[in-house]
Symmetry: C2
Subunit: 301 residues, 2 copies
């Protein structure tokens, strides 16, 4: 069955979900986006994602009157229309369509697109075996804190990983430090039980799941250290993992072919994954989108 | 009157020229493009632009069987359909539409979009007074030699120039050297009659107009020096200019509010502009697109 996709006020069958070739999202990557996890028919961290989208648009000097949080009812309607029990909502806002010119248009209205993707997140079988990563140079622009659709370097990194038989790529800056994964934040756990992840800056995305996981560390016997780490340090780690809205906590079991510890998902990562999923389910329950009937029906199936 | 736009094999009124919201050009900036100048109803440097597009696609690992030079007849048809005497043709090729996933799709066909823009290039009144530029940090990715649509940093630079009352922005790398303009290559002429422009590397676009202008220097009393230059050196220059497919040679008369020499277009830049336009007209005549009747009609009007 075809999905229902939201495009500028209309709910359309996905085959009809189109935008002008003059849209600045298409011509200039002049657009920001968010990916909202959906669990149990509710939206996870809805407010945080909408706030980050507002911040991205603000950094890109979108018109100030443009406020993403007005779109929460649309997100919910889209989940209902697509009977989405578990998966993702993708939302993109562009600076609108106008005849091609680099400078910002004076009168264009932003374009808003949303669609859903059904996915198995909580019981993702991949989390049970973990993923393998390679490292590639981080060649992205210098504002990776803004969640824009200029994602070509991330696509190239992911494709390179695929070519080299790995699941994902971690990006390495000019000084040899890992910034983050191609579409996720990167972490290692050191022998002395410290969770090490790069500090916030313009070099990495300020992950919403990162915030959640960092706050959950206090419930474990781990300590947090926000600082850059190298591939060598990662190779000597007792565990590694990544976090993202689409996978929550994902164990990393090898880097560039070198196993992390015994090459199996580490117990700390699995505990953090469990805690993170619990927090996410709680957040989803606070922003229900599917009707109760559909939420229950699906759960008991 | 509405333009005719080319989208994947169809010639459509611009209002109907649309692409899927799942197009990777829209979601990931996973696309390359070219801008072809049109003079006297003919296409300037058509082969060079198509070859550069092929190179961009190759660098981005597009399917090898995909050959842009097959599109020359389409470019010509589009010029004819739009009765374009002078202006630009924009051509964009994306990795196609598929449900959103960073990794390259296995079966998607590339999306090809082309449209025209009428413009006064040869007699552009702006060239008579020259343009003002500001400098901003070059925050782009590390493969600016590939002509991709991940142009958001260029848009931000152009908008910043506009806010500061200037016409364009020149980009400055981490070491204080100018790389190029927001959408053009950058040049200064030193007191000892040397044309200085940054050497080719992954840090700048390998401009087709740059090739033309560099080859024309031998017809003047100027010498060429391909190397990085600083803002300070530009401030002490006797002339400055930029080159692009959409403006050929454009005199730059001030940088960050500091006049270059007397703040008027320099004689050398104007000579290079004239020579460049002559070469472009000759190239256009070798790739005529408008019918002879239309080419003459427009010239005598």
């Amino acid at each position: 069955m075809s999905r229902t996709v939201y495009v500028n006020g209309e709910f359309l069958p996905e085959e009809d979900a189109k935008i002008s070739v003059f849209d600045r999202g298409f011509l200039f990557a002049d657009a920001a986006y968010e990916v909202f996890p959906v669990l149990d028919g509710g939206i996870v961290d809805a407010d945080a994602h909408l706030a980050r989208l507002a911040r991205s648009l603000d950094e890109l000097d979108f018109p100030a009157h443009y406020t993403p949080d007005e779109y929460l009812p649309v997100l919910k309607t889209l989940v209902r229309n697509n009977k989405l029990h578990e998966g993702l909502i993708y939302m993109q806002v562009t600076r609108g369509a106008q005849d091609r010119s680099f400078n910002f248009p004076k009168n264009a209205d932003p374009t808003v697109v949303m669609f859903t993707q059904q996915d198995t997140i909580a019981d993702d079988p991949v989390a049970k075996t973990g993923i393998t990563v390679i490292t590639v140079p981080d060649i992205r622009w210098q504002r990776c804190d803004i969640k824009t659709v200029a994602l070509l370097p991330a696509c190239l990194a992911k494709a390179e990983a695929s070519r080299r038989g790995a699941d994902d790529a971690w990006l390495v800056d000019d000084e040899g430090f890992i910034t983050e994964g191609s579409s996720n934040n990167a972490y290692i756990i050191t022998k002395d039980n410290k969770v090490v992840t790069r500090h916030l800056s313009k070099a990495i995305l300020h992950g919403i799941t990162r915030v959640s996981v960092l706050s959950l560390i206090s419930q474990t016997n781990l300590e947090l250290e926000e600082r850059p780490f190298t591939i060598e340090e990662a190779n000597g780690a007792i565990e590694a993992f990544s976090t993202s809205a689409s996978a929550f906590v994902m164990p990393v079991v090898s880097i560039n072919g070198n196993k992390i510890a015994d090459g199996k998902p580490g117990p700390h990562a699995m505990v953090l994954r469990k805690l993170c999923l619990e927090a996410a389910r709680q957040s989803a329950a606070e922003t229900p989108a599917l009707s109760p009937r559909h939420r229950i029906k699906k759960r008991s199936s």
